[in-house]
């Protein structure tokens, strides 16, 4: 997938998630995975996410199956270069998925938001309709 393909996918307004999103697990992180993002371009896009109740780190990560990550939002995670702890990664060229998306833009507007609030921002900006339930992690 190149940058043009990514932008076309991003602008597509029929993207849907029909599954419930629920963070689960033991250890320091709660997580979910393999949530399908339906789209009319025929790409198999899988969403996974993680939340740390103690550090308030939140990640939403979109993977193009058999290619790699194409978009990821990190809130209060590890500092990425000079973009801070809260930033958004996007595919900028074809090799980025194999490199786990080395490019990112700072997103200070997402700091302090809950996992649900962050998800709602993502859905609004990426034109994703969520028909399932979102269970806020505790």
């Amino acid at each position: 997938m190149n940058r043009n393909d990514f932008q076309a996918l991003r602008h597509l307004d029929d993207k849907q998630v029909v599954d419930d999103i629920e963070f689960r697990g033991s250890g320091p992180n709660l997580s979910f995975g393999n949530i399908l993002v339906h789209n009319s371009m025929g790409h198999v896009i899988l969403l996974n996410g993680a939340y740390s109740p103690r550090t308030k780190k939140v990640t939403y990560n979109f993977v193009l199956k058999d290619v790699g990550p194409i978009c990821r939002v990190d809130v209060n995670g590890p500092v990425h270069r000079d973009k801070g702890r809260t930033h958004k990664h996007e595919l900028t060229d074809e090799e980025d998925p194999q490199k786990n998306l080395p490019e990112a833009d700072a997103r200070p507007d997402l700091e302090g938001k809950t996992p649900r609030q962050i998800w709602e921002v993502i859905c609004r900006e990426a034109k994703i309709g969520h028909k399932g339930r979102f269970r806020e992690p505790t």
Partner: protein, 228 residues
């Protein structure tokens, strides 16, 4: 440090040989870029070390909950989360799990519930060593990114050995690799120019060695006959 470096450089330039005593002191630099509190019992240390995609490795220094005393150093699961974003799991992939286990054993790091950690003495005398060991473990385990490859959508025309020795093949990948091997054998047989014996024999040896294990593994998993 700047003055020390200038002095050291001057002495090095004027000397007939490099003085190890001076070189040893040049590298006294902190590995911690920043520190902030998560809560009253946990602080986050941003190290100078980086994951492959360019983010800095965080390690967290935590106090044990009473009545236990002492400290521990942990990555709070961030390393395995990094791999999860690439659909890599050390718990689901035997190859990745073995590599991660070797790294942890080498560096005396433990893993539980997705978290890498190591204990620290009450007087924090071994904290520096622990930070270096845990940071190394985080970086090395994150480097599994370079081992696991996503399957390409186009047919593999070469590099079969790479795929077979580095990948965890699913059923689709197995069939794709086998088709490429068979196509190559057919091509060799039909060429008027006799191929090098080593090449054909190498491929046949590969089939003899790899096929039984691959077929058995995939057949058992997918419920297929072992004699397909």
């Amino acid at each position: 440090m700047q003055g020390g470096q200038n002095r050291a450089q001057g002495e090095i330039q004027g000397a007939d040989m490099i003085d190890c005593k001076i070189i040893k002191n040049i590298g006294n630099t902190s590995v911690i870029k920043a520190c902030d509190s998560i809560d009253e019992r946990l602080v986050r240390l941003q190290t100078v070390f980086m994951y492959p995609e360019g983010s800095y490795v965080d390690v967290f220094l935590g106090m044990h909950d009473p009545p236990t005393s002492g400290f521990h150093l942990t990555d709070m699961g961030q390393t395995l989360s990094y791999l999860a974003d690439l659909h890599i799991s050390v718990h689901e992939s035997r190859e990745c799990g073995n590599i991660a286990e070797q790294v942890c054993n080498l560096l005396n790091i433990h893993e539980k519930d997705g978290e890498l950690f190591t204990p620290i003495r009450e007087d924090l005398s071994d904290a520096g060593d622990a930070i270096l060991r845990l940071s190394q473990a985080c970086m090395r385990i994150a480097d599994l990114q370079y081992v696991k490859r996503f399957r390409q959508t186009s047919r593999h025309k070469g590099g079969i050995n790479d795929i077979l020795v580095t990948g965890d093949l699913d059923g689709g990948q197995l069939l794709e690799v086998m088709n490429v091997i068979l196509e190559r054998l057919d091509k060799l047989a039909s060429e008027t120019f006799r191929p090098r014996f080593e090449t054909e024999e190498g491929l046949r040896r590969l089939l003899r060695e790899m096929l039984p294990q691959m077929v058995k593994k995939e057949a058992l998993e997918e419920g297929m006959s072992e004699n397909w």
